[in-house]
């Protein structure tokens, strides 16, 4: 059984620069996956590849078991909200829904209506708040009753309150449709509420991939007196070491309990864990901004 989204050694190069490289991952059936990583890690590129807007330079990508560049049917079953939630600005809410109905074979108007709640149908898209606009884009994506939902930086333009509201609508839609969801985001604040799996992209591919529980279970903060670092029983990898004065704090990936009494062992929250990983990701040297039309190296 193939996963709704599956990539093998996927890579995409823009004019000599790799936006995504050696990316192998799968988003299993009916899970919500948080796709995260620093700017330029290739999150948006990956989603654009998944909806066939881009063609891979190397490797393969399969969406709902099919090649997105060859199969329009596969895209028809994917709900995609691109960065900045593009919609026709001159359309009203009602016209946007009519657009979605007219351009999709499968369209669940009742579900879209339900997700939109009390939003006035006669308002023009250009007059919507960022939160309302995101909500409309999401309703359009979920109204297709997709097997796979891809959201590109849905929280980027939203204030915390709107982000939380968006998440509620999304989760409600997920509960209704049972879709697999991939959320590309560098905002990790709310990621744990929504996501069961986390994939962290970095330069050179997938840096972290696992369920939230696995990640929380396998990482610990060790605090102790500053000392030369040797092997610590139960520690697989030291992700980050920080010292202040005589104290040393390690973020470690464990492969068993850390019983060494000279360390104080504490669990770590997901947000802090992800931020620590992102900080360790090697990034390419900064370069002048790309022309704005190539904005998918998000």
């Amino acid at each position: 059984m193939s996963a709704p989204l599956e990539t093998v050694a996927l890579g995409k190069r823009f004019r000599g620069r790799w936006a995504l490289r050696d990316c192998t991952l799968r988003a299993p059936e009916q899970t919500v996956v948080g796709l995260t990583g620093p700017n330029g890690a290739g999150k948006s590129t990956l989603l654009s590849l998944a909806v066939g807007l881009l063609e891979p330079t190397e490797g393969t990508i399969r969406v709902l078991g099919r090649d997105p560049r060859r199969s329009a049917d596969a895209i028809a079953e994917v709900g995609y909200v691109a960065q900045d939630a593009p919609l026709y600005r001159s359309f009203t809410v009602a016209e946007t829904l009519e657009f979605a109905r007219a351009t999709n074979v499968r369209w669940d108007g009742a579900l879209a209506d339900e997700l939109l709640g009390g939003l006035s149908r006669q308002t023009r898209v250009s007059a919507l708040t960022p939160g309302e606009r995101s909500r409309l884009a999401l309703a359009v994506a979920l109204g297709k009753r997709p097997g796979l939902v891809l959201l590109d930086e849905p929280f980027a333009r939203l204030d915390p309150l709107a982000a939380r509201a968006f998440l509620q609508v999304l989760m409600d839609g997920v509960a209704e449709t049972g879709a697999t969801v991939v959320i590309a985001t560098r905002v990790v604040t709310d990621i744990e509420r929504a996501c069961e799996r986390i994939v962290l992209l970095g330069e050179g591919g997938v840096r972290l991939d696992g369920t939230v529980e696995e990640l929380l279970e396998s990482h610990r903060l060790l605090t102790g007196v500053r000392r030369p670092l040797g092997r610590i029983r139960g520690v697989e990898e030291i992700v980050r070491a920080r010292h202040s004065g005589r104290q040393l704090t390690l973020l470690v990936r464990t492969n068993g309990p850390v019983l060494d009494p000279t360390w104080t062992v504490e669990p770590i929250g997901l947000e802090e864990l992800l931020l620590a990983y992102m900080a360790t990701v090697e990034l390419p040297t900064p370069r002048p901004p790309e022309p704005s039309r190539l904005r998918w190296h998000g």
Partner: protein, 315 residues
């Protein structure tokens, strides 16, 4: 999908419709005096083969009286190309500019089908509008065409079935330019320039050769003042059929005058003749058919390129 296309392009379509209406109203208003004069002066009795004395004067008067109007009507030549480019160029370029191609191309319709549906419907609208324009132009130019024929570009370019063919080609070029350049303004300019270049190229290089032109020989200094065909060339040739340059002609006239000889007689004595090369008026519909076919074929090729590109090109 038809609703979507109408909703997205209704402003342009309404503008084109309004333009056609405006032209029609202006045409009716300006044509009535022309038609009145045509009948008052009984111009039809001056048209070949029925020539009567004084015709030169009557026709000349009619021409000069309405020359300004006919000149203004020549601007109609711009409209089909303009309509095609104005609708074609933004079709894709605006989607790129606003990022909405990421919405449009990730719904349940493949982008080739999306492009083809749009092109088909908008093409239909553009064809309908330009047919209406051509109809108006033909009605308006009727008196002029009776006098001067409709083979020369002033009439040929705004009448008949070439008009929708031009519009269709302009639409296709606009679409392709929008796809390649992704900027409305740039696409508009490039498409307009390309359209004009091809249009003029065909008119100047190909159209004279659709069928071998006819020749008419007239002895004497000047050509017959009136021909209802499309005069391609009007040259003085010597006995061997070689063209005489205007420089030599002037020199010969000067030479005759010094010798107090009538230049026309002098030319005849040299065996010089005036040869008019022209396409006769009865080839109008044949030429229209050929030229329309050329532009429809060009439009099809450009469109196919656009469809292939939109399929292949990473967006």
């Amino acid at each position: 999908m038809a609703w979507v296309i109408w909703r997205q392009h209704r402003l342009q379509l309404l503008a084109v419709g309004g333009l056609v209406l405006l032209v029609a109203v202006a045409a009716v208003a300006t044509a009535l005096p022309v038609r009145a004069a045509y009948h008052r002066q009984a111009l039809s009795s001056c048209l070949p083969p029925a020539l009567r004395p004084g015709c030169e004067l009557i026709v000349g008067h009619f021409r000069s009286e309405f020359a300004a109007r006919a000149a203004v009507a020549r601007w109609l030549i711009l409209l089909p190309g303009l309509a095609g480019v104005l609708i074609g160029a933004p079709l894709l370029a605006r989607e790129f500019e606003h990022g909405t191609y990421r919405l449009a191309w990730t719904q349940g319709i493949s982008r080739q089908r999306w492009l083809l549906s749009k092109t088909a419907l908008l093409g239909l609208a553009v064809v309908a509008a330009s047919l209406a324009l051509a109809g108006v132009a033909m009605w308006w130019r009727e008196p002029f065409d009776h006098v001067d024929g409709r083979m020369s570009p002033a009439a040929f370019d705004v009448e008949g079935i070439v008009v929708p063919a031009y519009a269709l080609f302009a639409l296709a070029v606009g679409i392709l330019a929008g796809l390649v350049l992704r900027r409305t303004l740039a696409a508009l300019s490039v498409a307009a320039a390309a359209f004009v270049a091809v249009r003029l190229g065909v008119e100047k290089l190909l159209r004279p050769r659709y069928l071998p032109p006819l020749h008419q020989v007239a002895s004497g200094l000047s050509a017959p003042t009136r021909s209802r065909g499309w005069v391609l060339d009007n040259a003085l040739v010597d006995t061997l059929g070689r063209k005489i340059t205007t420089g030599r002609e002037d020199l010969a006239v000067l030479h005759a005058q010094r010798a107090s000889v009538d230049p026309q007689q002098y030319f005849s004595s040299l065996g010089w003749r005036r040869v008019i090369t022209f396409q006769p008026p009865d080839r109008f519909w044949v030429f229209q058919g050929i030229e329309a076919a050329i532009f429809v074929a060009l439009a099809a090729v450009v469109l196919l390129a656009a469809v292939a590109l939109v399929r292949r090109r990473p967006a």
